[in-house]
């Protein structure tokens, strides 16, 4: 079946929904998603969304921009970061006007709290004074992402946005540098649908499921990024993958930084507040990459706490916060600790470990969400990307907490605006060949191939190796081993027998396609990590422990060459007003 639209957005999380709201009514717009919109992963964001509103204390967008640049370890593009931080107050007020429920100050304004890496000068008149944590994160208890996603979906209902829920993206059709459409499987019937459109936006989210311990939903398999890579287009900075320091031990379920923003303290097996050593000024509120490394360093030094299954964890101490703060400010996350670990956070420490959380890298775009075809800035006509799947790059080497929710509303909207302009003169392009053919061949192959490999076994091995060899600490030996393993997984993938042969909700088939996507994603992350011989942000090479601005202050652009092997090129970082300096907190 062929559908024709002016614009098709893939993904119904925050970025996709915000973009859809921006498309004027005179244009036909469809949003396709592999889950019902409110099931999208945006809903699991907890702690807040930053904007220099100055509702609790004096703050400025320039401080927010400085923190974001510094947090990115000077890999973020400063023009895009300035746009995001300057636009943040407007974006938050807009969400409030749309109906998003926020926690409030005494005056009835949007309440704000502290968050990792967000600071301001202790004495604003003295640029040499120390930087202290600032109340910048706007929040709704610890369900900020949930109510943001609900609010954006509600506004889509109000605007009569056209949804195709439980449609699974299978192919991106680009011919002669023009994006002409895509194909997707209707999961309820396995029927292949072609969407022909003047503009396509990917808002397909991240790929935490490439790792064993992750905060990401099962759907976080990087489908959009993988299709871009398969199409021969570049992915940017894939080696920069963030581990959130506080995932529930063994499970990876996120315990928001808000827990530390409200005063929570990390402690080792001696009960010591070890972050005092690693980040003397901001301590437990240091950026995520630093805290994650600190936790692993403590465990490696024998200062972790031995768990029942032989693995080690670190304690998150919330006991001193009191029942009132815990129940009112962080009820959801403390509920997770009770449900899944049987721990009572008002009385006991919560066992945590770092968890794969957020992709800084992704589909390269400019700050209007237009997708780049190469490192020289050539655009793919009619193709846009926003949200976690995109790399603008506002997060550089390490994203600051709360900036993901900000990214999706700022760049989702900018993409929607740019598409609306583009549609004034854009037209539909005919396909040169049958657009459904590739998907049909892939499905037939997967459903008929035989072999004794199991989907879940290969996926588990891939995830464990990505965790062990391409996780928080990396080195050449491990990365080379992992590269070889990924090659083997790709071979073994060809021998997976899909057990379910049915057409109605064949989730066995869908998971197998998702694993194929994860294998490409893992390859690009590992290759980027192997290539980058320095330590910056979330990318830590034990064999190259220093940041190397002269050699490596540049973005990685990775593509598949003609033979299917990865090829790497570079793009310079945009610097406006913040010169690189040593990153201390």
């Amino acid at each position: 079946m062929i559908h024709k639209f002016d614009v098709v957005i893939v993904g119904a999380g925050g970025a996709g929904l915000r973009a859809a709201i921006e498309i004027p009514k005179e244009y036909s717009c469809a949003v396709i998603s592999k889950v019902f919109p409110t099931r999208s992963h945006t809903g699991t964001a907890q702690g807040g969304v930053c904007a220099a509103l100055s509702n609790e204390e004096e703050d400025s967008w320039l401080d927010h921009a400085f923190d974001t640049v510094k947090g990115s370890d000077y890999l973020g593009d400063q023009d895009a970061i300035e746009i995001m931080c300057q636009d943040a107050p407007r974006a938050i007020i807009e969400l409030e006007h749309m109906g998003m429920p926020f926690s409030r100050t005494k005056e009835g304004k949007i309440a704000q709290r502290k968050f990792g890496g967000h600071t301001k000068l202790e004495d604003p008149k003295d640029p040499n004074s120390k930087r202290i944590p600032v109340n910048r994160a706007c929040y709704s208890a610890d369900r900020t992402g949930h109510v943001m996603l609900q609010t954006l979906y509600e506004n889509c209902i109000k605007n009569n946005v056209n949804f195709y829920s439980e449609y699974f993206l299978t192919d991106l059709i680009i011919e002669d540098g023009i994006c002409k459409g895509l194909t997707a499987i209707d999961m309820a019937t396995s029927e292949i649908h072609t969407f022909q459109a003047k503009a396509i936006m990917f808002a397909t989210g991240g790929y935490g499921r490439a790792f064993r311990i992750t905060s990401n939903a099962h759907v976080g398999t990087g489908d959009g990024c993988a299709l871009v890579y398969k199409a021969g287009l570049p992915l940017e900075d894939m080696e920069f993958y963030q581990f959130h320091p506080t995932g529930l031990w063994r499970l990876g379920i996120l315990v928001s930084e808000a827990a530390r923003g409200e005063g929570g303290i990390l402690r080792n097996n001696a009960g010591e507040r070890f972050m005092e050593v690693y980040a003397p000024t901001v301590k437990d509120l240091a950026p995520r990459d630093m805290v994650s490394r600190a936790i692993i360093s403590e465990i490696r030094a024998g200062r972790g706490i031995l768990g029942s299954d032989g693995t080690y964890y670190i304690n998150l101490d919330l006991t001193h916060l009191g029942k009132k703060v815990i129940d009112e400010k962080i009820p959801e996350i403390t509920g997770f600790a009770r449900t899944y670990l049987g721990v009572e956070p008002t009385k006991e420490c919560v066992p945590i470990q770092p968890t794969a959380h957020y992709a800084m890298g992704g589909i390269p775009t400019n700050y209007d969400a237009e997708v780049l075809a190469d490192n020289k800035g050539t655009l793919v006509t009619g193709f846009y990307a926003a949200g976690e799947c995109a790399c603008v790059s506002v997060h550089g080497g390490n994203r600051l907490g709360t900036n993901s929710l900000l990214d999706i509303v700022v760049f989702g909207r900018r993409g929607g605006k740019k598409i609306s302009q583009f549609l004034k003169t854009a037209e539909l392009h005919d396909f040169k060949t049958d657009p459904a053919e590739k998907t049909r061949v892939m499905m037939d192959k997967l459903l008929t191939q035989s072999g004794n490999e199991k989907l879940a076994v290969i996926r588990r091995e891939l995830q464990q190796n990505m965790m062990d060899k391409c996780g928080i600490f990396r080195n050449e030996k491990d990365l080379l081993e992992n590269k070889e393993l990924i090659k083997q997984f790709k071979e073994r993938y060809k021998n997976i027998a899909v057990q379910d042969k049915s057409k109605v909700f064949n989730t066995d088939l869908i998971e197998t396609i998702e694993l194929g996507n994860l294998l490409d994603i893992a390859e690009s992350i590992n290759e980027g990590a192997l290539n980058r011989q320095e330590s910056r942000g979330a990318h830590t090479r034990e064999d190259f422990p220093k940041r190397d601005d002269a050699g490596w202050m540049k973005h990685t652009f990775i593509t598949k060459n003609e033979t299917g092997d990865p090829k790497i090129e570079y793009k310079p970082v945009v610097i406006t007003r913040f010169q690189p300096m040593e990153r201390k907190y």
């Binding site: 099931r39 699991t44 109906g99 709704s140 609900q150 509600e154 209902i157 379920i253 049987g342």
Partner: protein
């Protein structure tokens, strides 16, 4: 420990009626029901179909009937239920089964849309500041805003079972979310929508909704606030 699951299966391409199938596996206390379903699907039977995403009770995808009670598979642990006897897993009741544990939720979503689930406020605001709201007023909305649209409540309600036109607790909770938002100006419009025989008055305060809500929302209390609002409107 050895665990036995009995799961209601239905493949519309071959089955005329749903039927139970049994699975035995080695389980652990701290496994969620979702972990168990994954174990069955990934190690034993790839054809088993169910929805899931976040796996920690936030996305609302995996509401199902576990030993006769509606709950999220990802928020129920083996230690929370009786595993000495066979654990019975069925789809939520009173919605059409598409395949195995996957239901056609169209009607549920339509009822949610019927209450106009979005802020309506026609008074212009200046672009650069928020509408003020006291924290007390904001917190009145928080419990209702926790709803994850999992449908556990609506499908646990005897009024739903006996009358498929009944709007149901989830949609009523959403109506509350906006009727009591001090920023909203369409309370009357929404109250008119629910003030019908198949609307709020089908709620006979049976409390099943509260018991089944995985987010522990006191849904009946919220519905009673709407009823009070309707009564005072008539006076």
């Amino acid at each position: 420990m050895q665990v036995t699951f009995k799961i209601l299966r239905f493949n519309p391409e071959v089955d005329k009626e749903p039927h139970f199938e049994e699975y035995r596996f080695e389980g652990q206390d701290n496994m969620t029901i979702l972990d168990c379903l994954h174990k069955i699907k990934w190690e034993h039977d790839g054809t088993l179909a169910f929805r899931r995403s976040c796996a920690h009770g936030v996305c609302g995808s995996d509401g199902m009937r576990i030993n006769g009670k509606n709950h999220l598979a990802c928020s129920t642990l083996l230690k929370d239920i009786n595993t000495k006897k066979t654990v019975v897993i069925e789809p939520l009741p009173s919605m059409p089964i598409v395949k195995d544990l996957i239901l056609d939720m169209t009607d549920f979503y339509e009822k949610y849309k019927a209450v106009k689930p979005y802020l309506i406020n026609k008074t212009p605001v200046t672009g650069d500041s928020e509408r003020l709201q006291s924290n007390e007023d904001a917190e009145k909305l928080f419990e209702s805003a926790k709803c994850i649209l999992c449908a556990c409540c609506t499908t646990s309600c005897p009024s739903t079972w006996s009358n498929d036109k009944y709007i149901g607790p989830a949609a009523l909770l959403k109506a509350y979310r906006f009727v009591f938002d001090t920023r909203d100006e369409a309370a009357d419009e929404r109250l008119d929508i629910i003030d019908t025989p198949d609307g709020i008055w089908r709620c006979h305060t049976i409390f099943n909704c509260i018991e089944s809500c995985p987010k522990e929302i006191n849904i009946t209390w919220h519905i009673s606030q709407l009823k009070k609002e309707l009564s005072s409107r008539e006076m």
